[in-house]
């Protein structure tokens, strides 16, 4: 079980750091799965996480100039680590000016992801910095908990308005209420609603568009077949969880959308070139 990667391009390093910083805002701990082609950051929807789950997928070739790994075995060529993304983010942030950054799985006092960088200096010799970020190696018998979540059988799928706008609104609504109702239909309309003893607030978005999920979306005939386009599907969620998701965004996604399983789940998807982030917030009664 070995892993070693090297990032030389400064834009890649910056992008990689942003992705990890985004993840660090979403969760304190998560699982990093390394495969020959991809890196996955995974949070499984346990009660301890408030039922929230996350799946972030990165294609290694778009970030790493060198990438070598040897999994547990040839038939299970993967490595599964529990990491603190905050530590990785902090380590990466301090080496943004590096000529090259190496990330290695190492044996130190405990298993670590070691981030080593050579920082340019005025002198002839580079300044060398290493950060040993402790990780836990996850045994194979537990891997099944960190598989890619299947696409929920959603009622409505809709493109999100600009995340900045969404964040502003959710921030204010958070001041007023603990819960938020997200509802959307197949007519490109989405509403955010709160209601308390003092005030009720509804924000109406329209013309957002509904993503075309093809036959491969594993839908039972697709949602659009039978559903009245004006019929709203809704999910009432803990407003803090949605706020956390919006707050952490460091990557400006090229596409952002959300799927709603009526009264069950809010499924948020951000796509940015080679990175995809999925976030699942359970609905509450």
């Amino acid at each position: 079980m070995k892993f070693r990667g090297k990032i030389v391009d400064i834009a890649c390093l910056n992008h990689f750091t942003r992705v990890i910083t985004t993840i660090s805002k979403l969760t304190k701990m998560c699982v990093l799965r390394l495969t020959p082609d991809n890196l996955y950051f995974v949070l499984s929807g346990k009660v301890a996480n408030g039922g929230v789950s996350m799946w972030c997928e990165l294609s290694q070739a778009n970030f790493f100039d060198e990438y070598q790994m040897e999994g547990v075995s040839s038939e299970a060529n993967e490595i599964c680590l529990e990491v603190t993304p905050e530590n990785l983010s902090r380590a990466l942030k301090t080496v943004q000016s590096a000529k090259a950054v190496k990330i290695k799985l190492t044996k130190k006092h405990c298993p670590c992801l070691t981030i080593a960088a050579e920082l340019p200096t005025m002198s002839s010799i580079n300044r060398v910095v290493t950060h040993d970020v402790p990780v836990d190696v996850i045994p194979r018998r537990l891997w099944h908990e960190f598989k890619e979540p299947s696409m929920p059988d959603f009622d409505v799928s809709i493109y999100l308005p600009p995340l900045k706008t969404l964040k502003n609104i959710v921030d204010r609504m958070k001041n007023l209420s603990n819960f938020l109702v997200v509802e959307a239909n197949l007519n490109g309309e989405m509403n955010l609603k709160i209601e308390t003893d003092l005030v009720s607030v509804t924000t109406h978005f329209k013309d957002l568009g509904n993503p075309p999920w093809g036959d491969d979306a594993s839908q039972d005939g697709g949602p659009s077949q039978s559903r009245d386009p004006d019929d709203m599907a809704q999910a009432r969620v803990d407003i803090r969880k949605l706020q956390q998701f919006l707050m952490g965004q460091q990557v400006n996604p090229s596409k952002s959308m959300c799927n709603i399983v009526h009264q069950r789940i809010l499924h948020l998807i951000l796509l940015h070139e080679d990175v995809s982030l999925q976030y699942f917030i359970p609905a509450v009664a």
């Binding site: 044996k107 006092h109 040993d132 190696v137």
Partner: protein, 394 residues
């Protein structure tokens, strides 16, 4: 007794107070022949800082002759005078400091633009002299660096980190975070930075030692050094004796004296936990085969927790130079305790940050007649010298 200092406002004064506030809660003020001394010490007495503003710093510096006077006050109240640090530079035209022994009053008068006059009358207490005894000139290791280098170094460590360990060789300085508990080791992120000697303005490492000290006070000094652009000199000998950080220019001198972890603590630690105490060897060739993690996985899959001994990589043995050179320091701390004189103030409710630091390495009460200088005093008062060997600076 009346002491008057007048100067054109210079942010360096406020910055000095700000960096002293990182050390302790009280500001000790002492007008001396050789300038105005501002000092602070932390509650566990393991860190001390002093700024001396020479008479030339002021346009007027008048103190009564032959009469020592000193006082202390809450540093917060002095900071309040300079609260709008950013705008002061633009608005204050003249600063007038008056220490009135009769009225027990320290008055700061700031003459500002548009005729606005700000007068702060602060009450104070008489105080003992606060004087650390240290001899930086006899230190085996002396370095000088631009503040930028140290700022760029410190930035790699989290703000919450309490202590760093500095190790030196002829050509290199290593800075890494110090992790206290063994239990924390498996969770804590370890950071190590290696600086080449030619990044320093001056680099003289005669004793290849590792010392561990608090980062907070260093950050405090960096606030000052960065704003003034003054280079920082670092002096130290060995674990257990203080490290001195200094800044100087024509009209001011600042010295920060910080306790370092005594060697018994760091030695024990080194034996049980951290493998590298002295400068680590050059990193092994970047060998992909070196880091095979299978042992972990096997251990975990069979639910056998890997013991520290099995999981430890067979790396460098403890560099013997460091261990053998240190005298047994078991009685080091005891002796220091016994020689620390009692203070009238007993309100140190704050828990010392770390008991392994020598509790205090200074005599805090000195006869009023003694020389108030930052130079070493008589041998008896040197509390922070070598433990076994009574000859200071041998």
């Amino acid at each position: 007794m009346l002491c008057v200092c007048v100067c054109a406002y210079r942010p360096v004064l406020a910055k000095a107070i700000q960096s002293l506030s990182r050390i302790g809660d009280e500001l000790y003020v002492e007008p001396q022949e050789d300038g105005l001394a501002l000092r602070s010490v932390n509650s566990s007495r393991s860190a001390y800082a002093c700024f001396l503003f020479a008479p030339l710093f002021f346009t007027r510096y008048t103190i009564p002759s032959g009469h020592a006077f000193r006082c202390k006050m809450a540093i917060k109240s002095v900071q309040a005078v300079f609260r709008s640090l950013a705008s002061l530079e633009k608005t204050v035209e003249k600063c007038h400091i008056e220490l009135d022994g009769q009225k027990n009053r320290l008055t700061f008068t700031l003459h500002c633009r548009h005729g606005l006059l700000k007068t702060h009358n602060l009450s104070f207490q008489d105080s003992e002299s606060l004087q650390a005894v240290f001899d930086k000139d006899s230190c085996a290791n002396v370095f000088r660096a631009q503040p930028r280098l140290l700022v760029d170094t410190v930035v790699h460590f989290p703000p919450s980190l309490e202590e760093v360990t500095v190790s030196v060789s002829d050509e290199r300085m290593w800075v890494r975070n110090h992790v206290e508990e063994e239990a924390e080791q498996s969770k804590a992120m370890l950071t190590e930075l290696c600086l080449a000697s030619d990044e320093f303005d001056h680099f003289a490492a005669q004793a290849h030692n590792s010392i561990t000290f608090c980062l907070k006070e260093l950050r405090g000094l960096l606030v000052f050094a960065e704003s003034t652009g003054l280079p920082i000199s670092i002096y130290f000998d060995e674990p257990g004796s203080p490290v001195v950080l200094s800044v100087t220019d024509n009209v001011l001198e600042g010295n920060f004296v910080l306790a370092t972890l005594s060697d018994d603590a760091s030695l024990r630690k080194n034996n049980t936990e951290r493998v590298r105490t002295s400068p680590p060897p050059p990193p092994p060739p970047d060998d992909f085969m070196n880091d095979d993690m299978d042992s972990y996985l096997i251990a975990m899959d069979t639910s056998i927790a890997p013991g520290p001994s099995t999981s430890r990589p067979p790396t460098t043995p403890l560099a013997d130079s460091t261990c053998s050179k240190q005298p047994a320091a078991a009685n080091h701390r005891t002796r220091l305790h016994s020689e620390v004189e009692e203070e009238d103030e007993t309100s140190d409710t704050d828990k010392p940050p770390n008991k392994k630091f020598c509790s205090l390495f200074f005599g805090s009460v000195l006869p009023p007649s003694s020389q108030m200088s930052t130079q070493p005093l008589t041998k008896q008062e040197v509390l922070a010298s070598d433990s076994e060997d009574d000859t200071p600076g041998d």
